[in-house]
């Protein structure tokens, strides 16, 4: 659900980028964060909470709340609302704490 003809900002069609979410290829127009790119494809659940294992999604979109942590290109607990989506990016849900001893 991308807005290609914005009532105030006008028309804008950008180059497309393709990334994978849990192995599934998804395509969006570039210039979005990973969280927004997933929202385009109606993916709301980005991970689970560490203690009660409840679903978590984008909350503040400003890098403050850390509700949108995901694993991006092998790096765990990345704020998906502060990371621009790029071609070939490998995005996984945040389902646990990182193993810091490995």
């Amino acid at each position: 659900m991308e807005i290609t003809n914005h009532p105030t900002l006008g028309k804008q069609i950008d180059e497309e980028v393709t990334f994978t979410f849990e192995g599934m290829p998804l395509t969006v127009q570039k210039g979005k964060t990973v969280a927004a790119a997933l929202m385009t494809h109606r993916v709301r659940k980005l991970g689970v909470s560490r203690k009660l294992i409840q679903p978590r999604g984008l909350f503040c979109a400003n890098g403050r709340c850390c509700s949108c942590f995901m694993t991006i290109d092998g790096k765990e607990h990345v704020r998906s609302c502060m990371t621009l989506v790029q071609n070939g990016m490998n995005v996984l849900q945040n389902n646990s704490d990182p193993n810091v001893r490995k």
């Binding site: 105030t8 964060t33 403050r64 609302c81």
Partner: protein, 369 residues
């Protein structure tokens, strides 16, 4: 790395401070956490009545473009995707790009960290699809993504009303603006009329009971004196106000005071916007959240103070300029937020001592009550 002035935050306050300092020949470095300058203005498609005069006709994103263009000729060193993460023993700032950390030695530091939205908790408020009002605005205007098709807004500030309008314009069904109190926060009658014309219900005396949904929000249960009501939604926007962002001030050992009206804990500062840590200044919403104008004007004021202390401007000229900026702030805030204005003066007085603000001569301001 060395710089005359290190500015933390590339939003409207940081850019205003950058203009004042860089245009007087100082070497200025801005570090900015995101990948762009302009801060929260970038997704604002509305204009604001509480702006400085020359910005009142423009939308937020146009003001951002304006400011960025204004600082462009001065060769400011901009480090996007960088954050302040610590302070070295010798007083240098530890700056990180998420991979490496390096020291920055600065003669003066201006912290323009901005404000963060406050969550509005209720049972199951953490369900995906429930987000801050600011997040929804970022999605539709900056990232051009629809967060869903049907929503409800919790909170009734001017921001909630503007957002309701903007969500409606991109084709989202807005099922209401919910306010727990008997009066809405917004005072602007034009905006209320506009919302009523769009058939968006303003639900006063209504509280949120809980959210429901499997894996994401599907229903919001609200209750008024007519009883509970289940609203079918696929996202929810929370408008809970804002707090100053403080980490940078804690890193720099700046003292804080609690001012409810200014948004909670606020760094202490004097009339020059210098904090309790020598050489560390504050600008923008982190000085206390009062009006949009204050973001720009406190940025300019801190910039002028830095220029004065680094000898780029003499004290007569500096005090003339500062008086002009303070006067402009007073002119805006006496109309839109006199309580905020008074609280700011009390905050300065609390740090500098009684009647300290009286040294702002000729403006005729008083603390009321």
């Amino acid at each position: 790395m060395e710089t005359d002035v290190l500015i933390i935050g590339g939003g409207p306050a940081g850019l205003s401070a950058a203009y004042e300092t860089a245009s007087r020949g100082l070497n200025v470095t801005i570090i900015e956490e995101t990948w762009y300058l302009g801060g929260q203005l970038v997704q604002q498609t509305q204009s604001f009545e509480d702006m400085p005069n020359h910005y009142r006709q423009l939308c937020g994103f146009e003001i951002a473009e304006n400011l960025i263009k204004k600082v462009e000729p001065f060769g400011i060193h901009v480090l996007t995707d960088h954050t302040l993460i610590g302070l070295y023993e010798n007083g240098e700032m530890g700056i990180s790009n998420d991979r490496d950390v390096f020291p920055v030695k600065a003669s003066k530091i201006i912290m323009a960290t901005g404000a963060a939205e406050i969550a509005v908790p209720f049972p199951k408020w953490t369900l995906p699809g429930i987000m801050t009002a600011g997040a929804a605005q970022i999605l539709i205007n900056r990232d051009r993504v629809l967060p869903g098709t049907k929503t409800i807004l919790i909170g009734s500030s001017s921001f909630a009303f503007e957002l309701a309008k903007q969500l409606h314009e991109v084709g989202i069904e807005v099922k209401g603006i919910v306010e727990q109190q008997s009066d809405i926060v917004l005072q602007n009658n034009c905006l209320i009329d506009e919302i009523e014309k769009l058939n968006i219900p303003i639900l006063k005396n209504t509280k949120v009971i809980e959210a429901e949904g499997k894996g994401q929000v599907e229903t919001l249960v609200i209750e008024s004196n007519q009883g509970p009501q289940r609203i079918d939604v696929d996202f929810v926007c929370l408008d809970g106000g804002r707090n100053p962002i403080l980490e940078a001030f804690l890193i720099a050992n700046c003292s804080l005071s609690y001012r409810k009206i200014l948004g909670g804990w606020v760094p202490d500062y004097d009339l020059n916007f210098e904090t309790s840590s020598e050489g560390v200044y504050v600008a923008g919403n982190s000085t206390g959240i009062t009006s949009k104008a204050a973001i720009f004007l406190t940025g300019s004021l801190s910039g002028i103070s830095v220029c004065e202390s680094l000898g780029k401007i003499n004290s007569t000229e500096a005090s003339q300029m500062k008086n002009l900026f303070w006067e402009e702030l007073y002119q805006v805030e006496q109309q839109v937020n006199l309580e905020g204005w008074n609280s700011r003066l009390k905050h300065i007085e609390g740090y500098m001592g009684p009647n300290s603000h009286q040294s702002l001569s000729g403006i005729g301001r008083k603390i009321n009550g």
